[in-house]
């Protein structure tokens, strides 16, 4: 058996521990999939795999037990799935173009969840379209509210959706359901003054609890959607850490542009001598300093009037061994 494993990997197949057997990696941007698409996964598992599929942590499927020689046939079967998911592809019929950039994940978002401030999977698909395929190791996730069910803060870029609560004083009946929810579940950003509510903007994280809990629609959502852009979170063997806030009250377009700009920044600064020529963004930012990253990231970005840009960002996290 003569197999170019580099090509195999680039084609979204995995080199497994079982000699002669590979696994097909099916990427589902934003985790949004139809029953018809699921059936394709099932059919591939039945026909070329071992009847099983693994649901990956990054919202894809890994179909194991596939013989290397069946890869072209699997790719053919994948084509309708790739078409329906709108995946960028060079040559139709040749399967997924795999890359360093990981599948863009999203919580279920406001298609279902009452808490979500946006349709997260739509944004995941938009960013997917804008950045795929790419060799650079980027992890991006979108979550509908600061509950952060998708764990956006474990990502290089985590978009945490928010709403700017709008208050109509004369619809308020002083039940204080909003104040109670904010105090007990969020940041105590609401204050009762003269039997009405005052929102302290610097404390408000835009979660929407006040809107959800208001029985009279005194609180409603802003038309404009906002995002808290948290950056450079990661797992790993050196310094796992949570992403820190870079922008508050940012708009979607700016977030997408910043991600695209960061690809240029990484291309410029990546240490090609790193193992496999791979270096994660966060470590590059650690090396160049945040301010250099910021300069590249914000190039030609037109931030909205509400956006707050952090002057400095400092990360913490666990430093295994402390010897690097």
């Amino acid at each position: 058996m003569d197999i170019n494993v580099k090509k195999v990997k680039k084609n979204a197949f995995r080199v497994t521990k079982h000699r002669g057997l590979t696994a097909s990696r099916v990427r589902v941007p934003g985790g949004d999939i139809t029953s018809e698409q699921l059936r394709i996964v099932a059919e591939i598992a039945d026909k070329y795999g071992n009847g099983k599929a693994h649901i990956t942590t990054r919202q894809g499927f890994e179909i194991p037990g596939i013989k290397y020689e069946d890869m072209p046939k699997v790719n053919e079967m994948l084509q309708p799935l790739i078409d329906q998911l709108g995946i960028n592809q060079d040559t139709p019929g040749t399967g997924y173009t795999s890359a360093g950039t990981r599948n863009i994940t999203a919580c279920i978002g406001n298609r279902v969840c009452p808490f979500a401030n946006v349709e997260t999977s739509r944004i995941a698909k938009r960013i997917d379209k804008a950045v795929f395929p790419h060799d650079l190791h980027f992890k991006i996730a979108i979550t509908g509210c600061p509950n952060d069910c998708v764990k956006a803060r474990m990502h290089d870029f985590g978009l945490i959706a928010a709403t700017m609560p709008q208050y109509e004083r004369d619809r308020c009946i002083s039940c204080y359901a909003c104040e109670k929810a904010c105090r007990l579940k969020a940041t105590q950003a609401l204050k009762i003054v003269n039997e009405r509510i005052e929102r302290e903007h610097t404390k408000c994280i835009g979660c929407g609890e006040c809107v959800l809990n208001c029985p009279t629609r005194a609180w409603t959502r802003s038309k404009q959607r906002y995002f808290r852009l948290a950056i450079m979170g990661r797992t790993g063997k050196k310094n796992p850490r949570l992403a820190e806030d870079f922008l508050l009250w940012a708009d979607e377009d700016s977030c997408v542009q910043i991600i695209k700009n960061t690809y240029k920044y990484v291309t410029n600064y990546i240490n090609l001598g790193a193992p496999g020529g791979k270096e994660h963004i966060g470590y590059i930012v650690d090396r160049t300093g945040f301010h250099e990253f910021k300069k590249w990231a914000l190039e030609d970005v037109k931030l909205g009037p509400d956006t707050i840009v952090k002057e400095h960002v400092n990360w913490g996290g666990i430093r295994y061994g402390l010897h690097y």
């Binding site: 406001n110 009452p114 979500a116 401030n117 946006v118 349709e119 709403t163 004083r169 004369d170 619809r171 308020c172 009946i173 002083s174 039940c175 359901a177 003054v193 003269n194 039997e195 929407g208 809107v211 959800l212 809990n213 208001c214 029985p215 009279t216 629609r217 409603t220 959502r221 038309k223």
Partner: protein, 334 residues
Amino acid sequence: MGLVLSASRFGKLMEEWSKKYDIYAPALFEGSGPFSDTDQVRYAKVTSLEEIVFDKKSNYPFKEAILPITQVLFYFTEDEVREAAPRGRDAVIFLRSCDFNALRSLDAIYIRNVIEDHYYKGVRERAKFVVMGCESSFDNCFCVDMETNTCSGYDAYIHLEADSVTLDIVNPELADSFSFESGENAQITPKFVTATTTRVNIPGNLDASVAGSDMWDEYHTRCTSCGRCNFVCPTCTCFSMQDVSYTDNGKCGERRRVWASCQVDGFTDMAGGHSFRANKGQRTRYRVLHKVYDFKKRNGYHMCVGCGRCSDACQEYISFSACVNKLEKAMGVK
């Protein structure tokens, strides 16, 4: 006066009305629901037919058009009190048959209830009502069982056909300074529903013993006392009084009344700090029996008009009609 008008001719009539009246009607508030990307239908001042939502039940009833959520009664300074200015213009209010029937409960509370409330009366007397026909009932509606599916005494009636507006102008003031064309006169039949999917059975011999039933206990754990059932009810009339001093100058301030809810904490707070109806099952009992029992004893008709909005709005999926339908079994049972 039965009429069939084209949409554009009705638009002209509304223009005419707008010169004299504020027109209140159910309108679409895009994105203003509690969840993102959800809409609400509630009352707004409108000027055109297109703004009026005919094909959905409004989430909130018409009552805020005559009984504002917040109403300032007077302003005070050190030695002066000045009453708030009354509403400037007369009103035309579009509403459905159930809501029009709810009006008599509001009147019973605010006008025929020992003392006349002149704030309410002032607005009420300057309002005209246009009843919107119902093609069929909506989810949770049970107007037929509450005998509110039909009504009379309205100032006008309206429903939409595919490309025309069917109108019955009863109060000639609404036809003032508008000349209808002879071809526009027509024999019209108001659309009132005659059956609903949701049904209620209020026992004819319902008595106070049902208050002692354990049927209310489950509501203590189910209800979150948010008060939505009250705020969406066309017949809930309770308010709280708020005296506030302005923060910039504590010697000036206002007295206002705002809607209150018998389900929300604080409703039964008394001087000294005691709150006598802490149990949410008992709050449910108080509300439900007021709607289908004790109000009728005093006024001869039920307060509930069967619009079903309380069931529509409940985030805990507590159905008012399901609760009412438990009453018969619960009578006399502890």
